[in-house]
Amino acid sequence: MIGFLSLLAGGLKTDTKKGTPDIKSISKLTFSEEGILFLGDSEGGNIYAIDLEDTEKSSFEDGLNVGDVEKEIAGMLGTTAENVLIHDMAVNPISRNTYLSVSRARAKWTSRWHLPNDLASADVLIKVSTDGEFSEVKLENVEYSSVKIPNPVDAEKEHEWKKGTKLRVDAITDLIYDNGTIYVAGLSNEEFAASMWISPYPFKKDVRASTLEIYHGAHGAYETQAPIRAFLPYELNSKSHIMAAYLCTPLVTFETDKLGSQKHVKGRTVAEFGSGNYPLDMVLYQNEGKDYVLMSNSQLPLLIFDPADVESYEGEITTEVEGYMAGVKYTPRSGSGVQELEDFNDKFILATQRMPSGKLALVSLPKEWLKP
């Protein structure tokens, strides 16, 4: 039956095959509702869609909590906890298994301007089950398909002020699957480096691209070279949009129909959340039936903003912001050191959090507590 339907769909598809994909770096992870793992490989410049056959539906409604994730993984990597570096986290919405991309490079994390992908390429995938069991996920002999990112930023280009870091580590900075489409934010080799790539899934050979331009309130300038760090698709005023956050920390909206069809797209800056900070992750959730966005940061607190506020915001930030913040307001939440965020189940958002002891814990944040 499925074979017949795919014949009807037509078009040139890249077929899935069983084998071992040649993944050079596990830069970003995300899942589709069907439990397919999408893996962004910045170094190789590819997006992989992998069927890990992890589709047993889970009825786990509690929170998952692990006190010291780095220690659990350290032994498997032949080292001690202070060397274990978690790069990204994604939760399979069907099995509720948590997937972590990991490397051994944490000892290199010496600056508040570093992000994990700056330090090394993640080369191991670890799974944490809902009962807290850790195991390696070997990406060998799997059913997968892939598509190449057209013209990612050149492997030789060096970061202007992060000495020793190549821009290539940010070829893919965030990745979302939404309703049959993959959105990839990152850096291209075009004159305007900040880009968004759009591909249908199942993959066809063509990937559309747009370069992006935004006004950065804290810097008082238009920017085209810094990549999106975290984004979400959302409908604003009945139109499909992308809400995206950047380093230092503007919040910008883009009209989705322009992305991929227009070569260069200008975003609308709706907020400045404060300078000296990386937005790390964004997740959409419901509290008392209403939508909110929870965002984690490298130097600012955990924060909540209301997409309805983004929708009703009438201006646009186009001049240098006086003071630290501007535009759409956010509400801070207690919880410093929160890094990765993922929707876990009806009640909880799963997060990694650096605790006062220095340990990295997997914590479950109750959605009912996250009301601004």
Binding site: E72, A74, G75, M76, L77, G78, T80, N83, K163, G164
Partner: protein, 368 residues
């Protein structure tokens, strides 16, 4: 076998004790293997026949960080008649490991195993290489280098261990005085993937005119003066390695591809194409960023080699040259030793910039 220290804890002692051995495989991406010695042939045959899963292997043979709750990731194989574990990662020098082998558990899978002891060997992996390392050369090999040289490469004969290279490398003036902080210092070093080539990056902030470090600390090298690059013998070398050189004027001009001279190879032979370049090029980039295309636009397979002492780049084709036209394609990212490219001068915005769409191609025809 190589240098490591271990203790063996054995529950009882009599003849035919098992032992372990470690073999490093420098060429493989995986570290090497840890093998168990003394298992009889019938047992090995049984293990091979059963085609054990990782879970079954680890039921009797595991390597773990002491105190860790889980064993090290890796793969199991029978290598040269011995059960062997190949760790997924290079062992950490600062960590103690234990190799756990249970003869009892092995017997439940292979009753022909003669032994019933439990073994726990404590191991730490000291050095990545046995014996001394050697510096093959420091490039560019020239004795005369421009004041704004950007990179130097140190080539070792064997892969080098995880240590901060800047503890062992210094630049001295003629009078022995140290040049302060000439390099961009990265604790983990800038290494080639086989860990045999170290890139030393002269601090670009000091080379670039009118930027902070250049104005406060000054340039690293002064034209007309002599210097020594010293790699200390403390870095597992027989003796200090010294490269003496003299500095000439800074080179702030683009690579002039149009001035390159090409000596065409003879058709029907695999003789070298020789290109005489105009300045001292970066060896690694010049060997990687040029390609030869035939009349149909296909890439001609072969190897580029840059010999700075002869100012030339040679290309040796894999197949004989055909009678016809060829094109040498030069990537605009090609750099000379100062970071200048065919289109830009290293530290200059706008000044001396050539149009981006310039064609960096040289045509030639094979000679008769």
């Amino acid at each position: 076998m190589y240098l490591l220290c271990f203790f063996a804890f054995v529950t009882s002692s009599s003849a035919q004790e098992l032992n372990f051995s470690v073999e490093k495989d420098l060429k493989s991406e995986r570290y090497g293997q840890i093998s168990i010695e003394g298992i009889n042939e019938q047992t090995i045959d049984m293990l091979l026949q059963k085609d054990l899963s990782d879970k079954q292997w680890s039921s009797f043979f595991e390597v773990r960080v002491i105190g860790a709750s889980r064993a090290m990731l890796g793969s199991y194989e029978v290598i040269a008649g011995k059960p062997s574990f190949r760790p997924r990662f290079v062992p950490d020098q600062n960590v103690s490991y234990e190799i756990a082998f249970s003869s009892q558990s092995l017997r439940t899978l292979a009753p022909t195993h003669h032994d019933s002891r439990e073994y726990v060997w404590t191991v730490s992996f000291d050095e990545l290489n046995e014996g001394r390392n050697e510096i093959v050369e420091i490039s560019p090999k020239e004795d005369l280098l421009p004041a704004n040289i950007l990179r130097l490469y140190v080539h070792f004969s064997n892969p080098v261990n995880f240590d901060n290279p800047h503890k062992y490398i210094r630049i001295e003036r003629r009078n022995g005085e140290l040049v302060k902080e000439p390099f961009v210092e990265m604790e983990e070093g800038l290494w080639s993937t086989d860990r045999r080539r170290l890139t030393l990056l002269i601090h670009p902030g000091r080379i670039k005119r009118n930027v902070g470090p250049n104005m406060t600390m000054g340039e690293v090298f002064e034209a007309g003066k002599s210097y020594k690059l010293v790699v200390s013998s403390e870095w597992n070398l027989e003796e200090d390695y010294v490269k003496s050189f003299q500095i000439t004027a800074a080179v702030r001009s683009t690579i002039d591809v149009e001035s390159w001279k090409v000596l065409s190879p003879k058709e029907g032979t695999v003789e070298n194409l020789r290109i005489r370049t105009d300045k001292l090029l970066d060896k690694a980039l010049s060997e990687r960023l040029l390609s030869i295309l035939d009349e149909e636009g296909n890439i001609v397979p072969g190897q580029f080699v840059y010999r700075s002492e002869e100012s030339n780049l040679t290309f040796t084709p894999e197949q004989p040259w055909l009678d016809g036209n060829y094109v040498i394609n030069i990537d605009p990212k090609l750099e000379d030793v100062c970071g200048n490219t065919p289109l830009t001068v290293f530290d200059v915005e706008g000044e001396g910039l050539k149009e981006k769409n310039r064609d960096l191609r040289i045509q030639f025809k094979s000679s008769k």
